[in-house]
Symmetry: C2
Subunit: 222 residues, 2 copies
DNA sequence: GCCTAATATAAGGTATACCTAACTTATAGT
DNA sequence: ACTATAAGTTAGGTATACCTTATATTAGGC
C-alpha cells in the first residue's frame, strides 16, 4: 500500500538532506539542515515541526531530527530520482559531475514515478550514481554502501573507493578532477595529527587530502 | 545580449499558453488563458498585469493579450524545452504522446539551458516534437509551421498532416490512437454543415472528425 | 552546580500565486 | 441608443515558505 501523495519541492529537499546526513551519522542537527539548505534556523525549525506532524521525521529537541520509516522511504524515492538523473546527465548528456549534480537537483522534483521507472530501464537499471551511491528501488529501499570512511583508515591500509557520500557541487568538481572515483584504488601513506591532511597514493599519483574531503569518501578496505 | 533571468513556473505557463494560442489566432482573451490554466479569470487578469509590467505581454482591454517580442522569445524557450522533452520521453523512454505531454509540462520548468542544449544534441537536434510542432532554437526563434488548418479545407482536397497544434492530453491520446500523426496522408470527403463533422480518408481508413479536433490539425495541401 | 553557547520558540512580516464575492465598465447586437 | 453579456477591477482572504528580531530554554564544560 504505497502512499501516493506528492510533496512540495521544499519538503523533498528537507527529506533528502536529512537522509544524506543520516548516512554519515544518525541524528541530524536542525542547524546542519539550515546550513545545507541555506535557510535560517528558525525556518528550518518551523519546517521540522511540520514534517513531524506529518509523521516524516522525529524531532529530538536540542539533539536533532531523524527520519521515520515513512520519511526514509520518501527521501529514498527522491534520492532515486536524483541519482538516476545524475547517471543520465553524465553518461548520456556528457555533463560534469558538478553540473549533473546541480541539474539533477532541479529535475528530481519534477519527475513522476512513471518517468523515473522508464528512465531507469532506459539506463539499464543502474545500481549506483556516477559517484557510487546506491540507487534506491522504486519503493524506496536501499542498502547503505559497505565500506569505511577514509578518515577512519590507518596508514598502510589500502582499498578502492566505493562512493563519494553526501557531496556538494564544489566537492564533486574537486574529486572528479583528482580522479577520486568509484573503483579507484588507493593506499594511505600517512595521517597527519591535529586534523591534518591525509596522504594517499593512487597508483603512482600522490595526493594530500583534507579531512573535509576525506570525510565524504567511503573505501572498501582490502 | 540574451537575458538570463529565470521566470517562475507560473509565468512560464502563462507565456507558453499565450504562445500556443497565438499560433492559432493572434490576440488571446484573458478568459481563454484562465480556462486553459484552470484558474479564475481574476487570477489570470492579475497575472496579465504583472506580465505587462515586466514587458512580456501587451494587454488590449476587452480584447485580450499578445506577447511582446521579448515575451515571445521567452515563451519559445519554454516551448523548446517542452518539445525536446516530449521527443525524449516518446522516442527514448517509450511513453505515449499523452504521457509525454503531461510529464514534459513538469520537466520544462526545471531544465537549465545547459541541459536543454545537451539534450537537443543527444537527440540529434530534432526539428520538431512528436506531433510535428517545430522546436524553437536556443535563442527563442521559430518559424510557424506551414499549412492549412483541417477545418479550412474543402471536400476533395488532400494533403499530409504537418502537426497537431496546441494540444491537450486527451486530444493527444485520441489523435495518436487514430494514427493522425505528422506525415499521415489524408483526403477530405465531406464537410458537414452546422459545425458538423468532417469526414476524411486516411488510406483505406475512413474517419469522422469533430471540429474541435480538426481545429488542431495543420495540413500541407498537395 | 553554574553559566554560556547552542537550540528553540514567539511574534510579526514578506512575496507569490491562488481564491470568492461584489461591483464596474465596455462591446456588440438589436 | 440601449441593454445584456463579457471583461475587468476592488476588496479581502488562503496557503506555502521564507525572513528578522527578540526571548526563552537546555545541555555541556568547567
Amino acid at each position: 500500500m504505497v502512499e501516493r501523495h506528492h510533496f512540495s519541492e521544499s519538503v523533498e529537499m528537507y527529506l533528502k538532506t536529512i537522509a544524506e546526513h543520516s548516512a554519515v551519522g544518525e541524528v541530524v542537527p536542525v542547524t546542519a539542515l539550515a546550513e545545507d539548505l541555506l535557510i535560517s534556523t528558525v525556518s528550518a525549525s518551523e519546517m521540522v515541526h511540520k514534517l513531524e506532524a506529518q509523521g516524516l521525521v522525529q524531532h529530538l529537541p536540542y539533539k536533532g531530527v531523524r527520519l521515520t520509516a515513512e520519511g526514509a522511504r520518501r527521501a529514498n524515492i527522491v534520492l532515486r530520482r536524483h541519482r538516476l538523473w545524475e547517471r543520465f546527465l553524465t553518461d548520456q548528456l556528457g555533463l560534469s559531475w558538478e553540473k549533473a549534480y546541480e541539474f539533477a537537483c532541479e529535475l528530481e522534483h519534477a519527475t513522476d514515478e512513471v518517468v523515473v521507472d522508464a528512465l531507469s530501464k532506459f539506463l539499464g537499471s543502474p545500481e549506483s550514481c556516477p559517484h557510487g551511491n546506491p540507487i534506491p528501488s522504486a519503493d524506496g529501499e536501499v542498502d547503505p554502501p559497505e565500506g569505511v570512511c577514509l578518515v577512519d583508515m590507518a596508514p598502510g591500509e589500502s582499498g578502492s573507493i566505493v562512493c563519494i557520500q553526501n557531496p556538494s557541487p564544489g566537492l564533486l568538481q574537486y574529486v572528479e578532477e583528482k580522479d577520486l572515483r568509484p573503483g579507484t584504488k588507493l593506499q594511505i601513506n600517512a595521517v597527519e595529527p591535529f586534523e591534518g591532511p591525509i596522504s594517499v597514493s593512487l597508483g603512482s599519483e600522490r595526493l594530500s587530502l583534507g579531512r573535509k574531503v576525506a570525510g565524504h569518501i567511503i573505501v572498501a578496505v582490502e
